[in-house]
């Protein structure tokens, strides 16, 4: 009995479920909805927090877009809402910078890292791999609460005297290192740093859990090459996180010492109001190296889960096996490795040695190869598929579109010589909002529409979904596409009122157009939010496998149980993409169906060289041919 005691003291939650017949442990509101250790509940917590943060960050963007479109007009409403951040109804310039900074921070980290990975890795890793829960449910719970605390601290900076941090989401020193540099560099920056340290702790706890679960807790038969591409993507994303986030902590630690303890890691030769500061010898470029060593992998941390979700949704709804499963995995692995050796492309204009710049240029352009492999495989999967245009499918196709249009501009930027012109212009803004912002958000929305039935047991309304898709898709292009041209004309990013410059004043009309398109996009999200909330409470009840999908999560009952499956965990016999297999009588064969039940559709390579099974299959085929002849 020693082992039992051990389980109970250690991983109280999921083991109870495993031998649920021992009677139920008490489920209170607090441990079911708040301090839950169940991966499905934690996934929902991440999702709802992520959506909330997304709405906040979107609202911030509308505020600064209003400033860009109407730099001379006053909106008394703004003063009512924002008080001294918008004196006389016009945004304060420092506050404008705070808005851009917090918009970027929240979108990149809180929505597209925690909201995306946190939701879908938590939901799908145990369910698609056949595990009862995560490796450490307790750490998983901590991961959520660290994230929630980080979110609260980040938002709280709007309620302090000096306002939120304002040196951009990349917080370059010296603006971030000198509390006196600008209002946002004071308490706002300190809180930003605290919030991000908690955030990184949360991401690491989450990521470590995901990796450990994927490697140790797969059900019988689920070898690595039978894992759905979603899991591959989440797994590699978690690895990228484990290898890159600690470097951000190292950078932040040094920054904190510079801010509060008088060291000079990043500071040198600085004068404030004519007074020289004592700091000497520091190097602001050091920060850029450390930051972008995380920063570039981070953009793939954002993108890869979205790519994984897309693979799954496209294959399911095209009713075709994913094209080039192995190539998809290897390209993810390729992206994982390459993402660590390209950070210098953010620093081409820092005076870096041109030879080094050349090296980073080559590694950067090489990333286009695995990215293109993925794109072509998506297109090939769609090609002559029996496509079902569910909302999830539309969003997945939307991702492919953005990934192409945004990826192409990456190739421009990756050229060290072209980047001299394009760096820090709206061209960069257009690039990353398409390839990262829009693509990853579309992946996330696709995942929400697709797995909503799994999370909440209800269906979302498809009509509202279509409305949401088309408005969002169109407005995203209307917002970001014109920015390419502004960038080519040399319009710098993060300027409060660049249209006041004579040479750029003609862009005012474009700015107005973009702002109205952005407002259209924001309004479109109301359709989503309404649909989301309404469906949770009053949506149509779902059946167990609404999309006729092959993966394991759809073999678990609709009602959520601790431990996911009531009896034994299902065993896996085949890869996850047996859609429309020739010879089968249904157009999808779940992973749990043994080959012995699908004799009419088995192919030689299904047996992975198992001679006995091949022989049985041949015998069966001879037998059945005879029958046909008779």
């Amino acid at each position: 009995m020693a082992t039992l005691t051990l389980n109970d003291t250690h991983t109280a939650h999921h083991d109870h479920a495993a031998h649920g017949d021992h009677g139920h442990h008490k489920e209170t509101f607090l441990n079911k909805y708040v301090f839950s250790q169940d991966h499905k509940m934690i996934a929902k917590q991440f999702l709802i927090t992520g959506i909330f943060m997304g709405v906040v960050a979107m609202t911030l963007s509308i505020l600064f877009r209003i400033q860009l479109a109407y730099p001379d007009e006053s909106f008394p409403l703004l003063e009512m809402l924002l008080g001294k951040f918008a004196p006389e109804g016009r945004l304060d310039p420092n506050f404008y910078l705070s808005l851009v900074t917090i918009h970027g921070t929240i979108m990149v980290f809180f929505v597209l890292t925690a909201g995306l990975s946190g939701t879908f890795s938590n939901l799908l890793i145990p369910l698609q791999l056949g595990a009862r829960d995560m490796a450490s449910p307790f750490m998983n719970m901590l991961s959520y609460w660290f994230f929630a605390t980080a979110s609260v601290i980040m938002l709280a900076t709007f309620f302090i005297e000096t306002g939120p941090a304002s040196s951009g989401w990349t917080i370059y020193p010296p603006l971030s290192a000198l509390p006196k540099a600008m209002p946002g560099s004071g308490l706002g920056m300190t809180m930003w740093l605290i919030s991000m340290v908690l955030f990184v702790a949360s991401s690491l706890m989450g990521g470590i859990n995901y990796v450990s679960t994927v490697l140790n807790m797969r059900t019988k038969g689920m070898d690595l090459w039978k894992m759905p591409l979603t899991i591959w993507a989440f797994f590699l994303t978690a690895i990228v996180g484990i290898l890159s986030f600690p470097v951000l902590v190292a950078a932040v630690v040094l920054l904190i010492f510079d801010r509060s303890f008088g060291t000079s890691f990043y500071l040198s030769d600085i004068y404030i109001a004519g007074q020289a500061l004592p700091n000497e010898g520091g190097s602001p470029v050091l920060w850029q190296h450390l930051f972008w060593f995380l920063g570039h992998p981070e953009v793939y941390i954002v993108l890869m889960p979205a790519l994984g979700i897309t693979s799954e949704v496209i294959a399911t709804n095209a009713r075709k096996p994913i094209f080039g499963y192995h190539a998809m995995v290897y390209s993810l692995i390729g992206i994982t490795i390459l993402s660590f050796i390209v950070w210098g492309h953010h620093m081409f204009v820092t005076g870096m040695n041109p030879f080094l710049g050349g090296v980073f240029m080559i590694t950067t352009l090489v990333i286009a190869v695995p990215s293109a492999v993925k794109t072509f495989n998506y297109l090939a999967t769609l090609w002559r598929g029996n496509i079902r245009f569910t909302p999830a499918m539309l969003f997945a196709i939307g991702l492919v579109s953005f990934f192409i249009s945004g990826g192409l501009t990456g190739i421009f930027l990756g050229n060290a010589a072209l980047d001299i012109n394009l760096h820090d212009t709206y061209f960069v803004v257009a690039h990353f909002h398409l390839v990262m912002g829009s693509a990853a958000i579309f992946g996330m929305l696709s995942g929400i529409y697709h797995w909503f039935p799994k999370m909440f047991g209800k269906m979302m309304d498809a009509k509202l979904g279509y409305l949401h898709f088309w408005l969002t898709f169109i407005s995203a292009y209307l917002v970001f596409f014109p920015m390419h041209f502004m960038g080519l004309d040399g319009v710098p990013r993060r300027y409060y009122a660049f249209t006041e410059f004579e040479s750029m004043s003609e862009w005012l009309s474009v700015n107005k157009f973009i702002t109205w398109s952005a407002i259209l996009g924001a309004v479109a999200q109301v359709a989503f939010l309404y649909n989301f909330v309404y469906s949770i409470f009053w949506g149509k009840k779902t059946v167990q496998n609404p999309w006729e999908s092959t993966t394991l999560e759809w073999t678990a009952p609709v009602e959520h149980l601790h431990g996911n499956w009531p009896g034994e965990i299902p065993t896996v016999y085949r890869w996850p993409y047996d859609y429309s297999k020739p010879g089968a009588d249904v157009d999808f064969i779940p992973q749990t169906t043994p080959l012995s039940e699908t004799m009419s559709s088995n192919l030689p390579h299904d047996f992975e060289g198992n001679e006995e099974s091949e022989r049985i299959q041949l015998d069966w085929e001879k037998e059945n041919k005879k029958e046909l002849v008779k």
Binding site: A2, N7, I208, F261, L286
Partner: protein, 192 residues
């Protein structure tokens, strides 16, 4: 029920040990980030190189931390042989050595400041030395907490599997912290 608990048991400790490994990897990356920062910084010009001699205290620290690894390994062997009295002795000895190591590191700081090499130096290479040692000491503290956990379970009547499990994670982590210090020290010696 007859077969199930064994299965969960195997599954519930193995992934947790794995978690400790992954945590060590991310901590190593943290230090790799710091040391790379050092290289980028000090590679800039001659004036930015590390121009003080490392105090001898760091040599004593190294000896202490290696000794503590040995004593912990010994405690582990005794645990496996169910010699719990010796296990405790080994654990207490390790804790004492860990504390002595920390003191020796702090003394190293005193020596450095005596040489005029302050934390807030205008040569950040010197500040890096303090940052390396500070964060390494924090890892020592974390290791000590794990070892204290093992001490507590050696006094309580917990199942032996759990006792051994706690020993195993302490030992892996402690050896890691030990090697980490050697890495940092050698790194500093090569760069001074």
């Amino acid at each position: 029920m007859p077969t199930y608990p064994q299965e969960t048991d195997r599954y519930s400790l193995q992934p947790k040990k794995f978690i400790v490994w992954l945590f060590m990897i991310s901590s190593f990356i943290f230090f790799a980030g710091l040391t790379s920062g050092f290289i980028v910084y000090s590679g800039d010009s001659l004036a930015k190189q590390l121009n003080v001699k490392m105090p001898n205290a760091f040599i004593y620290s190294t000896i202490l931390v290696v000794a503590s690894s040995i004593s912990l390994q010994w405690a582990y062997i005794q645990t496996k042989r169910s010699n719990f009295a010796k296990q405790r002795l080994g654990l207490w000895l390790t804790i004492a050595l860990g504390v002595a190591f920390t003191c020796s590191q702090l003394y190293g700081w005193v020596v450095l400041t005596g040489l005029g090499a302050f934390f807030t130096s205008s040569n950040a290479s010197i500040s890096f030395v303090y940052v390396f040692t500070l964060f390494h000491i924090l890892h020592i503290v974390a290791g000590l907490i794990l070892i204290i956990g093992a001490v507590i379970s050696s006094y309580k009547a917990v199942p032996n599997v759990l006792n051994i499990f706690r020993m195993e994670i302490s030992i892996v982590f402690w050896h890691f912290v030990d090697i980490l210090w050697i890495y940092l020290y050698v790194f500093l010696l090569l760069n001074q």
